[in-house]
Symmetry: D2
Subunit: 376 residues, 4 copies
Amino acid sequence: MDRHIPIRLGMVGGGIGAMIGEVHRIAARLDNSFDLIAGALSSTPEKAEESAAKIGIAPERTYSDFTEMARAEAARTDGIEAVSICTPNHLHFPAAKAFLEQGIHVICDKPMTSTLEQALELGEIARKADALFVLTHNYSAYPQLRLARELVQSGALGPIRLVQVEYAQDWLAEPTESKQADWRTDPARAGAGGSIGDIGTHAFQLARFVSGQRPAQIAADLTSFVPGRRVDDNAHVMMRYASGAKGTLWCSQVAPGTENGLKLRIYGEKAGIEWSHETPETLWFTALGEPARKLRRGGPEGTMIGSRVPAGHPEGYLEGFATLYGEAADAIRAYQAGQAIETLLPGIKDGIEGLRFIDACLRSNAKDAAWVELMP
Amino acid sequence: MDRHIPIRLGMVGGGIGAMIGEVHRIAARLDNSFDLIAGALSSTPEKAEESAAKIGIAPERTYSDFTEMARAEAARTDGIEAVSICTPNHLHFPAAKAFLEQGIHVICDKPMTSTLEQALELGEIARKADALFVLTHNYSAYPQLRLARELVQSGALGPIRLVQVEYAQDWLAEPTESKQADWRTDPARAGAGGSIGDIGTHAFQLARFVSGQRPAQIAADLTSFVPGRRVDDNAHVMMRYASGAKGTLWCSQVAPGTENGLKLRIYGEKAGIEWSHETPETLWFTALGEPARKLRRGGPEGTMIGSRVPAGHPEGYLEGFATLYGEAADAIRAYQAGQAIETLLPGIKDGIEGLRFIDACLRSNAKDAAWVELMP
Amino acid sequence: MDRHIPIRLGMVGGGIGAMIGEVHRIAARLDNSFDLIAGALSSTPEKAEESAAKIGIAPERTYSDFTEMARAEAARTDGIEAVSICTPNHLHFPAAKAFLEQGIHVICDKPMTSTLEQALELGEIARKADALFVLTHNYSAYPQLRLARELVQSGALGPIRLVQVEYAQDWLAEPTESKQADWRTDPARAGAGGSIGDIGTHAFQLARFVSGQRPAQIAADLTSFVPGRRVDDNAHVMMRYASGAKGTLWCSQVAPGTENGLKLRIYGEKAGIEWSHETPETLWFTALGEPARKLRRGGPEGTMIGSRVPAGHPEGYLEGFATLYGEAADAIRAYQAGQAIETLLPGIKDGIEGLRFIDACLRSNAKDAAWVELMP
Amino acid sequence: MDRHIPIRLGMVGGGIGAMIGEVHRIAARLDNSFDLIAGALSSTPEKAEESAAKIGIAPERTYSDFTEMARAEAARTDGIEAVSICTPNHLHFPAAKAFLEQGIHVICDKPMTSTLEQALELGEIARKADALFVLTHNYSAYPQLRLARELVQSGALGPIRLVQVEYAQDWLAEPTESKQADWRTDPARAGAGGSIGDIGTHAFQLARFVSGQRPAQIAADLTSFVPGRRVDDNAHVMMRYASGAKGTLWCSQVAPGTENGLKLRIYGEKAGIEWSHETPETLWFTALGEPARKLRRGGPEGTMIGSRVPAGHPEGYLEGFATLYGEAADAIRAYQAGQAIETLLPGIKDGIEGLRFIDACLRSNAKDAAWVELMP
């Protein structure tokens, strides 16, 4: 039987007010690969229920305790096959453990655990478990970084000499009290690392993923610039790779004007590549002594890995389309309810205007480009 | 009852080999606003069935004739509430007519019809119908173009003087024979306009949407550069707006090196704005005599309309995440089938490496940034 | 005799308060090709004398009447060999005529004359004269535009289809009363064309220079947006080239946020090129179906025409160096006069700091990158 | 007496085949501040004479020994007032000493000397000398870096936290044997530092110049990637500033695809700035929580320090103009010699074309933008 059947998915964390949970949900839905049907979205029962109802999870599949959820779902014949873990860092370990031990596949946010000890223990658990463990280092799925990795592996850069990676933000430049900032600057929930855990690990993974190199030694200078902060908000790290390559890693959450300033530059004996998160669909490739080439997602010498639309449609294209669809759904619901519809959606008038435009172009062109009225 | 219920959606066109159909499907799914449950994805029965099966539409909701589909779905109590029309242009009119007349909401690709006469007739049909009609001029849903429109309306630019819009591509620079190119260069299926219908109407709609201005007169010089082409592949159009503003519209499908080079620049008495599709999350705003300001999606002075992730996560962020999820689904299916899993997905090892990195940073930092081994 | 001897140069116009005169003087001096020794910098004798003294022209070579200057200089054995004409447009014709008829070479700012009749007459005069006539369409001397021309001529673009050129400014967006604006908006001094004469002619020349194509027909829509302005401040022009190529020319002086926004894009059957004045050292070249290549001044596949420094030193490099030299001259003069010297010039302290840096790097490196004090 | 009199200048080094000597000469000439009249351009008498003749230095002011030159020039009443030293590094010290001790002002290339000991000794010599010493750290004269310094000093960034500076090149990525590469990789002539001396000192000076901060401690990891190279060709340096600010300095001569990749980023508590050598006329300024502002040379909130042309004329503008002048000089010399003239210079024909363009625009516009022939 050939029909497409999405995988049954549960979620831990990601209740109302969370940011990354909704990202995981959209990601699970976008390619129709998963069907979210169960969740322990919060450890507070009321909040768990409210959050679940809002996204269409049935009450009987709503939990506030992830251990119970793991047990209950494993016992159902239509139980979840996989679970997404989107909690603050300190809960990654017990939650992942609970589901892996029930043979439920785990998709977990990073960093994997709060401490190295937990990480090693989870490694043992995963080794024995009848389930997969996936860590969402999402940047390594950008098409142009996949391409970058292929270029390195193909030998196009020659032996690697330099790996410069950085991830700079500014959202913690001042003392803040948002939900997001709160747990990320609390060693009990985030782990001992601040910026190095939250974004440094992304940069570190990306450098390894693309370069195919593993650092042997590092020298790290960590700083907490904001008075009273209990974890680092900036790190300068020098790296020596096992291969003889060298590089630096800089991560910061106190650099005003940077957004999610992830940048990766790798230089080999024969060529160099550069990538920046601000223009994620472009990978610069320069062979020594040749002009820089702008490799675009889906373009020539590019890759279609992870591409859903043809080259030249920037990745936000789908989101723009989805916004129209979302607004159409709102309008339809309002229409069905007999409510007034206020919308920016293009409609019949725009369609007529478009045809008027085509018609006027053809009329003008037929008169050697003379002026014509749009509305004749 | 508060629970989220997606709208029941059908689709006409968008079978195997089509491009825009899949875009509509992802868009419908991304925000969980619609549930695609019926389709006439092709007029060839076998192809309609195969296409439907592939995306999970049940056989009893699979049609090859859209008129029959409209009738049948309207008769069901669980029939579709809305339909997406993703066919070549010449079928937009009969399909939209069929569904509107059954009181089913229509979401239709552009240009709305093949001829102005059809457009006006559809206008009448829509006026009388008990259903909405939405035209997917998707670019008008980009957050920074929504912001641009707000800036114009707020008076920040002063009275508008100039509207420069262009949409340049290169995919028809040579005679081509792809499915996509085929119907777009056939007047019988595309309508009399070539580039002006396919992309010129987008540029035209966008100029109107953002500027809030309607051209009164145009002067158009159309060209078919590729020998044997039966429709225009390039258009230069001068525009005079009713308000006294002026501008040009250039669209081309024969400009090597351009991708989907949609650009909009609007200049008023007090300020100017510039937007380019290649960097869709940036809107440049310059008040006369002040430095240019880079307005970023979700950033300060920005807008969150249509934004799903916080500022600084480029719009492809969700797609990267979705790629990971898709690959996780593949790995889980392979695991369940007892197949070998080859994947680039980060997993336990990456998690351990990440914690080793944090641990090594802390150890080095504790020794005044001395070199430490990553693996102690 | 091998020694380098600069050409003896005079200047008409370019007195105190003028902008373009100083540009001509720096240009004449930069390569040591000319020696400016005579001038009629103003028609007001006092201003002519003051201006001449300020730039080191001897009193006996200072004139207020360019006809007299032409006669007097032609009569001297050490008279000027060439003259630069930097006056408002309406004086170009009589001044050029005066010097050409005396056999003195003319380097003249653009547009060449105020009217087409004068231009044709000057053509006759130049044809008969024993002297050269050079028009300073300076943009055609940018290295990357020279390269663009070579690429077109080499056939790398294939037959040309499209020439899109524009030159947008914002300095006349409001009524202004500067010396620069004053004569440029006065038909008596600027000629009948406003923006088309001042900047449109540059765009027009550049399109011809690089494309090697001449328009056969044009359709122009000129506008004076600023109330009371007597000449156009914006022009939209459609062009049809003799070869079958088409294009548009847009020039504007009322587009807020543009500086000297000269842009040229040329598309042929096989490839396209793009150049923008804001990054003059980059020429984008894209062959159909290949990644865009970033051709940099002096770089691979580049050209050294007009390059004074190796690739990678941006063109402002020389100006930065010259600023240091100018400040050094100021400091030396102040020193000689016994005055206090306040300067940002790097000196001995900076030199010692630099060596301390090198020394500290070597000391730290010798200790496996341990921290060392800069000042041991 | 008010007349402008350039300073009498001599030069040591900079003979045929050198690169930086010609840069110094152009810089000295550009603002007419200096008159180059004497030189010891090479220590080989024949080469010294040939080089001097080529640039117009009189035979009696041509030397091959800089000590003799210092003595002889100091003895003349019309002797040089200042000297430019453009030799390889190891000669900076003896040459600077020779001229300073004769009371002749010194303008010296960087690094100041080969060793720290020499630097300190030169400091003593300069202290006692009746002359100024200027070190050409030219980057600190870029207008937008001067502006950056002003912004820091004004407190617009708040207390500085981070200083990230880098200077990456690729010209030594392979073993090379050019004259330029040769002495720069020879410790005897360049000093013990390779990349750190040649470009690291520039980055170091710039960081100090703009930030107003001095590092207290550094930790440096130097590498010679190219086999057999006797000096470093890459350096990673972590810096701790006396103020508590931190940062890194990276310099490299083996990073393929970088040109003269000097970049400076400074982040304070309240705002951040970014500057890149590839677009030297732009300084990015972002106050925390506000959109990035693009500060352009000469533009609003900009500075005119070091600016010779109005905003919007990129810095290469003068060089393009100078190229035209240089070609005009060539054409005039060829004309005088009765030689054939082959040139790209615009002339009478271009002037007539320009007026035809203006005329055609006016004719078309008078007919409501109807098509007109360019040549009626």
